[in-house]
Symmetry: C2
Subunit: 414 residues, 2 copies
């Protein structure tokens, strides 16, 4: 903080805010302000423009977009996490994977039908769903296949964080707890599973255990305070906190209560994993503990030849709260506990930071999260030992970034 901290130096000193590491050299970033010849922004000389009924980002931030690529024949839109600060993802930047495009549905087009092993099959329209009690929760949502390239590619691809691991986002979701609807239909003996189906062209459908839906399931109607967007399932989607993205069925229109899973094409095909010993991992719903350093991250360039930086990142676990995040700046030889910023919420992004004095030499940055149940991220080599060569779902290994001497940051396996 330079030599000019003034009388409050003690209170605002290193130990309080910087976790025991030095915060120095910051003064080099600011320029001495010229006392007289300050150039004022031209904007001050004319009245500003009009606002609009629904606000949009600055045109100067137009490059901050989701990136898209085709995977297995369908588009995957990824959140540019390297631009995100804070735990909430802007709704316009939320990741999306569409197997059959985005259907154009109005609120009147869709009703939610509950049937199967129930006393009384029921159909709920949106107007009446809106009268049920609602809950709001901040939760991440992650595609089972997030970070697939890191799992599959023999060499680390030189991509941005969003391109590598941007199939995860975090929002405040609001909707009707499914328990109200399921109990209203009256569950018959033998009811154990629920098959959820979307109103998209491919009838995307997944089987979920009934007890878990009774405990945590929600018919989500709102995201970040407003109605769901079309690419997130408008007018409604299933939401299961911490579970892989594709079971959170979008454009939800049907829940069938059954005694066993339906083994739909979507769960017997794409969303199973082959283990190294040849066994198949099915219905592995939870997304495991994971973290990424967002700043600095792939293809960014550190400004200045060296000096003080703040390492910042996001951590999450499909099984609960984040308990700690350790950070290494030497490729895993030594680790330091990062600071977790509140609120630390259940199955939500948690923001972590650690100050770092870059000496201008090569460095390898890594983060390793641990959740409240003691689950810790594996190294890539450990993850690869568990799964077969061609498996890629549920990849949660430690992400490493190499900082080159010229400040360029690259994806690396470590």
């Amino acid at each position: 903080m330079g030599n000019n901290e003034g009388k409050d130096k003690g209170r605002l000193g290193r130990r309080t805010f910087l976790g025991g590491l030095a915060w120095g050299g910051a003064g080099a970033w600011a320029q001495t302000a010229p006392p007289l010849a300050e150039r004022l922004p031209a904007a001050r000389s004319r009245s500003g423009g009009a606002d609009m009924p629904y606000g949009q980002p600055s045109p100067h931030e137009a490059a901050v977009q989701r990136t898209v690529s085709e995977v297995a024949g369908f588009p995957v839109w990824r959140t540019p996490l390297q631009h995100q600060r804070g735990i909430i993802t802007a709704s316009g930047l939320h990741f999306a994977v569409h197997h059959n495009g985005v259907p154009d549905l109005s609120q009147e087009d869709v009703t939610l039908r509950l049937h199967g092993l129930v006393e009384r099959p029921l159909r709920f329209d949106l107007e009446h769903l809106m009268r049920y009690p609602m809950v709001s929760r901040v939760h991440f949502l992650e595609c089972a296949g997030n970070s697939a390239a890191n799992a599959l590619s023999p060499t680390a691809l030189d991509e941005t964080l969003g391109e590598i691991a941007g199939e995860v986002s975090c929002s405040e979701w609001t909707g009707v707890p499914l328990k109200y609807l399921l109990h209203e239909t009256g569950l018959k003996p033998g009811a154990r599973w629920v098959v959820a189906e979307g109103a998209d062209a491919g009838s995307h459908s997944r089987s979920l255990p009934l007890q878990a839906l009774l405990q945590d399931g929600m018919v989500a109607l709102f995201q970040n305070g407003e109605r769901l967007r079309p690419s997130q399932g408008y007018p409604m989607r299933l939401f299961m906190p911490g579970w892989e993205g594709n079971v959170n069925v979008k454009w939800l229109h049907r829940l069938e209560v059954t005694d066993s899973p339906a083994h739909t094409k979507d769960e017997s095909g794409l969303y199973t994993q082959v283990l190294a010993d040849g066994r198949i991992e099915r219905f592995a719903f939870h997304m495991e503990v994971k973290s990424v350093i967002t700043h600095p991250s792939g293809r960014q360039v550190l400004s200045g030849p060296h000096g003080q930086h703040e390492i910042a990142g996001l951590a999450w676990s499909g099984r609960g709260r984040i308990a700690r995040v350790d950070v290494s700046v030497d490729g895993g030889r030594s680790w330091v506990a990062a600071r977790l910023h509140g609120p630390v919420l259940d199955r939500a992004f948690t923001h972590f930071t650690l100050p770092w004095n870059w000496t201008g030499r090569k460095a390898v940055l890594m983060s390793r999260a641990t959740d409240e149940h003691g689950h810790t991220q594996p190294l890539r080599s450990e993850w690869k030992r568990r799964y077969a060569m061609h498996s890629f779902n549920h990849y949660n290994a430690v992400q490493a970034w190499r900082v080159r001497a010229d400040g360029r940051v690259e994806n690396v396996y470590a």
Copy 2:
């Protein structure tokens, strides 16, 4: 929940979820699903449309917009709170008050200059500001003049909640704590105030006490995970949690450290309040404890002739956390504690709910919030006794809604 709750009736019963009030009659909302002749959404018969790099709300929700009106010669854009569920306001719907329009500024157009009673005047450009440690916090932001019509109009206007009290919103704000920048400049003895100035055509400027800025002030760069939007001050704004909106200077480009307030036009004019005894209330920064019932609210119509509803609303206080919200359905004769939904955060919206069995007769709904310091909302009559007839800033009286026998909801003074 009807007669078909099944074996889990005890666990999902009234007391656990409904705060002691009955939840019944819900079965009347759903229709029995025809077993065979279900009409499927037409969307299922064709492939869906393409997604886009930056997502937008459904065209079917185009009516959910901010509303604008001219007040004292400048436009006021209000959040349609009657459509909001959850504590986060969609960034596109965040309220905004512009005294001089929205300047078109790029990141390169603006630097932040710190000068005045400092050892070393400094200028920070955005690239280097981004290297400082950042914090993220969920906070409400409220215009000092929010709910002015309720304060001034002799009769209650028949408007929506957003039109009445929509100059308040809640976001996750991320930025650099001002203490780092102020201490880097080196504060001189005698430094007591800071004058913050925006780069808009009118050079909007306010004086703030230095100590408060050192404790809580932030140069906000991000809102809900992405960079600030133009109408929220892109590329940067001052943010002071819990303080009236206009001191959170947008398009911030200058902070002058002084020994006393500057008495700028913006603080000596609009943002003072005349008390009933003729004294002037100046530099009353904190927004006081307040709440509104969002569902049901003004100009909504209850669906169905009678039955079970969930009263839902938002509460906030510029002085800390919400401790309780009491709700009345009989115009204030009796009150029941509503359920507060977590997370209950410091100086943020808090979501509250209470089940209500509407009998189909006239009713008057009110909510009264109390914060952790024991501050409670006044009734309108109490608020009016404190301030002069023409005062309207910092209006935080209890909002009442009359439900007519036909289900129509109206703003009313009670």
